[in-house]
Structures are given as C-alpha cells and as structure tokens.
C-alpha cells in the first residue's frame, strides 16, 4: 500500500509537472502574446508552425543559445540562486491543489494536507525571495529598486490575500482544499451557487460577500504575481525592466517561467476556491469510470485557462498604478473590505445553514 502510494504520487508529480504545468507555462507565454496582439488589433506570433503554435519551442531554443552573462559586480552565488527561487515556489504550490476527482481510484491531488490554503500562502510568500535576491545580487540600482518594491508590495497584498479567503473557509469549516471542492459540489459554486439547494435565498445572499471576497482575492493575486496593474517591480518605463534587468539567457527565461507558473497556480487556487475546482454540473466524478476522471481534470484546466485569460485581458486593459496609489489601495481599501467582508459572512452564515 505504501509502495503503491509512493508510485502514484511520483506519477502524479511527474505527470502534472511535465505534462501539464510546464507546457502550460510555455503556452501561457504564447497565449499572452496572442491575446495582447488580438486586443491591440494585431496578429501576434503566427509564423512558427500552424498559427504559430511552435513559437514556445523556438523561444526556448533562442533563450538557451543566448550568451549567459554574469555582471562582474554581481554577487555570483545569489545571482545564480535567485532565478531558481523565483520558479520553485510557484511550482511547489500546485502540490496541494486538487486538479481532478479520482483516476482509477487514485485521488487527483498530490498532497492533500489539512492546512491546504495556508500551505499555498506560505510557499507563495517565499516567492518574493527570488525577486528580492535577484535584485540585490545584480548589484545594480534598477534591479535593486525593483526588488525593494516587490518585497513591500508582496507583504502588503499578502494581508488582503489571506483575509479575502477567510469567508470561504468560514463557510466550509475546513482548510483542506479538497473539502472546499466537495462543499461546492454539494452546495453550488461560491460565485454561482446553481447546484444543490440553490432555491435557498440565504445561499444567494451569501453569494454577495463571496463575490466581494473573490474580487479582493483576484486583485491580491494580481499583485502577488506582479501582473500588470501591479507590475511595479518590473516597470519597464521606470526601472528598465526591474529585477531582471541584469539577467540574460535561460536565467532571464526562468524569471518569466516563474511569473507564468505563479499565474497558473494562482488561477488554480482561484478556480478551486470560487469556481468549484474540477466540478462541472452534470458531469459525475471519477468513481463512475476513468473517462469521467479525465474529463474532470480537463474541466479543471479549462477553468484555469479561462482565469488566465482574464489575467491577460486585465493586463492589456489597465495602466500601471503609481507606487503610493498601490500601497494606499492595498492598505486602506482592500484590507478593510476583506475585514468587513468577514463580518458580513459571519452575520449571514447562521441563517444560511438554518434553512
């Protein structure tokens, strides 16, 4: 049994990492370029392969073949360490996210720990080190400013990030991400409670603070992943590229990989918490046959892709915040909203469970 567990876990890790996440990361870069082009009435990369679909491979070869340059004044060890630190947390986080129901009786989550969401936050908060150390070790002023900005920004938005999901766990009564999904299967998605006892008016009332919580969480994830309205650490116009200015070749690519991997895990967490994870109304779970298990996984990653599209859509619509605006928004607006939201849910919760 133990041996079986180890083998299936390894298969899940390898499968999810090399078959899903890494290709998804590289195609997220491609999708970003295509989406941005479409929004700006351009075509985007469409040369390599059909509709430019082999562009990520070409990009990878280009980046691998570029000169890997280390500035002389840089602190070499930390300079090399930083890009790895930027990628690692984003990929580790996916371990606790349930990406499917069951496949041949094996639950489709790598580690179903009872502190699921806290694990996500803890590991995501380590993501800042990659940027801060990268900025510091480059020994150059623009990367340094980027690193400093990023550390302050991430700390500020981690608060709203944490507080925004408290309502979800107040309703579910458990920090385990799988139980969040199971709850949503029974009672409908938090954003759109159509399944289960959807005639219950209190349930719909509960959807209002859930919506607020969803928006605050989403915006905090924007800030945590340094996506555009909050991409001050890499503001090209001010910092000449921010923390990755001195990086070249594959180390530079690793930073990009990290950013997109963080985006994917962020989307996966959003989908799990608010959009019912792998659940889709009318599709049974994996215990009814392996084909449904596969469909569940496909549903999950389709939802993730949809959320990633929203990320890109927002990025190519909104301009960047000024730094003081960013801080004020985080501390004086989202923080308070998330706090009040918790009280709102606490007020509604007793009634919604009574009916």
């Amino acid at each position: 049994m133990d041996f079986f567990f180890i083998i299936t876990s390894l298969l899940k890790i390898v499968g999810i990492l090399f078959v899903v996440i890494l290709p998804m990361v590289s195609y997220a870069v491609y999708a970003e370029r295509r989406v941005s082009a479409f929004i700006q009435d351009r075509l985007g990369p469409n040369r390599v392969g059909p509709a430019g679909l082999f562009q990520p491979i070409a990009d990878m070869f280009k980046l691998l073949l570029k000169e890997d340059f280390t500035p002389r004044a840089a602190n070499t060890f930390y300079y090399w360490l930083a890009p790895c630190l930027a990628v690692m947390p984003a990929i580790i986080t996916i371990a606790v996210v349930p990406f499917g129901s069951t496949l041949f009786g094996v639950p489709m989550v790598i580690a179903d720990v009872n502190v699921g969401i806290l694990f996500v936050f803890a590991i995501a908060s380590l993501g800042v080190y990659g940027i801060v150390i990268g900025g510091w070790a480059s020994n150059s002023k623009y990367p340094f400013l980027g690193g400093i900005r990023s550390s302050a920004q991430m700390l500020s938005y981690e608060l709203s990030l944490g507080l925004a999901v408290v309502p979800v766990f107040m309703v579910v009564g458990n920090l385990r991400l799988t139980s969040v999904v199971l709850y949503q299967i029974g009672h409908g998605w938090f954003i759109a409670p159509f399944v289960g006892d959807w005639m219950n008016p209190w349930k719909w009332l509960l959807a209002v603070p859930m919506l607020i919580s969803f928006f605050v969480f989403m915006i905090a994830v924007f800030a945590e992943t340094n996506r555009l309205p909050f991409d001050l650490p890499e503001a090209e116009q001010e910092l000449a590229g921010g923390y990755n200015t001195e990086y070249s070749s594959m180390k530079f690519a690793l930073y990009f990989l990290g950013e997109y991997a963080a985006m994917i895990t962020g989307s996966a967490v959003i989908v799990t918490l608010f959009f019912g994870g792998w659940h889709f109304p009318g599709i049974p779970d994996g215990s009814h046959g392996w084909i449904f298990g596969l469909i569940n996984i496909a549903v999950f990653f389709t939802k993730v892709a949809a959320v990633i599209f929203v990320f890109m859509w927002v990025r190519w619509t909104l301009p960047r915040f000024r730094y003081d605006q960013l801080m004020r928004l985080g501390w004086l607006f989202f923080f308070e909203i998330a706090l009040v939201n918790i009280f709102l849910v606490a007020a509604i919760l007793p009634y919604s469970s009574r009916l």
């Binding site: 930390y78 502190v115 806290l118 936050f121 590991i123 908060s125 080190y129 801060v132 550390s151």
Partner: protein
Amino acid sequence: MSPFLFWIFALMTLIFGAGVVINRNPVASALSLVVSFLGLAALFMSLDAFFVGIIQVLVYAGAVMVLFLFIIMLLNLQTEERRRINGLAAAGGIGVALILLVQICFVIGHFQAARQTFPPLARSTTDDVWNIGALLFSNYNLPFQIIGVLVLVATIGVVLLSKRQPR
C-alpha cells in the same frame, strides 16, 4: 517520519543557524535564517503539527524575514563584510557557547524524564488546525482576545508614529 528525514532537517536547521552567526554578509545571514526556519518547519510537520509548521514558514520565512531583508538591503552594510575577525572575541564566543552546551547536557543528564525514550507518537486522528482553533476560542479565549487588543494597540501606535506631521 523516518529518522533519515529527521537528521536531514535537523542538520539543515543547525548548519544554517550557525551560518547566521558565521556569515559576514548580513544578507547572507538573513537568508541562512530563512533556510533554518524552513528546516524547523519541516521538523514541526514531522510531528504532524502541520499548522505550526506552516505558520512558521508563513510568518517568519514569508513575512518577518522579508522585512528584515528589506531593511538590511536599504542600509547597505558594506563595512561589515570588510571587518576582520577579532580572534579574541571569536574565541570568547565559542567558549561561551561550549559552556552553555555543557550546561545543557548536564541539566538534561540529571533530568529523569529526558533520559527515557519516548513511546512513538500515535498517529493523530483529529485535525490539528481544528484543535488549535477550538482551544484558542474556548480555554484560551481571554488571553487570545488580550493579545488581539495588544497587537491592535501596537498597530495604531505605529500608524500614529509614522504618520507625516502636518506642516
């Protein structure tokens, strides 16, 4: 958890803990402390105390040390790296550490309970997050509330102190 993993994480905690003191570069010291915290968190998790372990990472490694790094980087402590090691002070420090070690060994040696091997812990059946929450809001509710007020007062104090004076 296998003793093998225990030794890995215990050594990781100790080595990087020593690294905090030995490193001349303040940033390197801070980062060693982060790794040391991670090892400690792993040790907590090996005792099925997932909540404590994760909070260790979330609060110390994720937030407090980032603030530390933030400050250290802003200060730009170049002189620290160039200073030569004072042999006498180093010898004194090592001496004090050794004396402390001997003392701890002595105390533990005379403490009866510490010399017995503990029976292996039973696999926990309840949720540790649930347990901590229940305890905090029942038995320790008053201290918990008091700490809450205390932290709130500290926060308000910081906001007041750091507020810009109106000219």
